[in-house]
Symmetry: C2
């Protein structure tokens, strides 16, 4: 088929390459979360859940627009495609290895994968300096708008999963196991992203310093610190879901 | 599973029942269009199309929020569920009879079904009087925001379908045939909605008067006029798509 015609757009030249890459990953994973939440909205068990997950998908896309706007002001669809382009196929293997037909597992996949991606982007952004990095941190840290308040696009998905797990011990055990598998794949993906994008790895050590991590010296130590940090955040997330991580 | 907990919300008592029903159908079909566009975004052939269809889905949901807000101000998710509730299962048979695994057919299904629904709601709203009906017409007639301008949520889907059809005669013939099937099912759905909701049928005759239709006297004639009008609008839509209707 004919590809989508894309007008010329350019990235703001004041944005450092590493910051542009963090924006690309953040924008691409918000678009992925939009798709996951929308898909779980379509086959939601009741109308209110369907609406709430659609609203969550909308908030993910709004954040994605804000991210793209930071680096390609006014770029619209073409700007988004430009920023996300380097990561277009980054999620294919993750998606294949975490494919599921189960509604609750699909929802948890989004919460876990999107959560790891957000933590990764926030952490790496802490290691960058200058105006564009500061503005990026403002968007990443901004509470999402909408009725669920500060908890963002995933708030409703989290609430649904907590209700489901509380009502069904067998499901809760299965979801806990599934969460472990999804986070494993998410961390594998982070590792291969860092391998493929050295500019991102370069942010890890200054990020560790900016976030007051003790004794993190050198790139390798910083990478280990980063993965350990994402793992710890995941454990906290699963605790909030009342699913053992 | 446990159902979504829904707080108490109430419909604005100044909204006539028939207007409330038009809002319900309009809101529900915008949510359905959100789901169809989002699903075609997820499996879009390239990143720009994926983004553009996601943006279209977002615009459909924004319009849905505006519609719900008209009749349950501040009602959020619970308000949306309340307004759409009477139509929750209205699309099940339509969806079953127009199920498709084909990407372009899925996109055209949304454009045709959503188009008929919008035409239905605009036409019926023309038959209602009073402040709530006037405000409803304002929302239904409002150009959707976003980069594609006045053409609304479906603009990108329309553009994609025009490109696909222009590049492939065999596909264009198949899509023309598919459009005929989808509009047939859409009009069957309209007929059964009018059967099930007499207040909607009651709007047809004043709508015909308001829209200067000649010689439309009585409920039956008004129903025939309404279906003929929707069919004519569909023909114009397929012409814009350069697919023979």
């Amino acid at each position: 088929m004919s590809s989508h015609p894309v007008p010329d757009v350019v990235v703001d030249p004041s944005v450092p390459p590493a910051v542009l890459e963090v924006v690309g990953i953040a924008a691409y994973t918000e678009l992925a979360e939009f798709g996951l939440l929308a898909a779980r909205s379509v086959d939601a068990p009741d109308l209110a859940t369907r609406q709430a997950l659609a609203d969550g998908a909308e908030r993910a896309l709004e954040r994605q627009h804000d991210l793209v706007e930071l680096v390609v002001p006014g770029g619209g669809v073409a700007g988004a495609a430009l920023v996300m382009g380097p990561f277009e196929h980054a999620l294919v293997e993750f998606d294949t290895r975490t494919a599921t037909e189960d509604w609750a597992e699909g929802l948890l996949k989004g919460v876990v994968g999107h959560g790891v991606a957000q933590d990764l982007c926030r952490t790496l952004a802490a290691g960058a300096t200058g105006g564009p990095a500061r503005r990026l941190r403002e968007v990443l840290d901004r509470p999402a708008p909408g009725p669920v308040g500060a908890a963002g696009a995933d708030a409703e998905a989290l609430a649904v999963l907590v209700r489901l797990g509380a009502a069904d011990d067998v499901l809760a055990s299965r979801l806990a196991l599934w969460g472990r598998r999804v986070v494993g794949e998410s961390l594998n993906l982070v590792t291969s992203l860092l391998d493929d994008h050295p500019a991102l790895t370069d942010l890890s050590e200054p990020a560790a310093r900016a976030l007051d991590a003790d004794g993190v010296v050198g790139r390798d130590a910083a990478r280990h610190w980063l993965v350990a940090r994402l793992t710890a955040e995941h454990t906290r997330r699963m605790d909030r879901l009342r699913l053992a991580a």
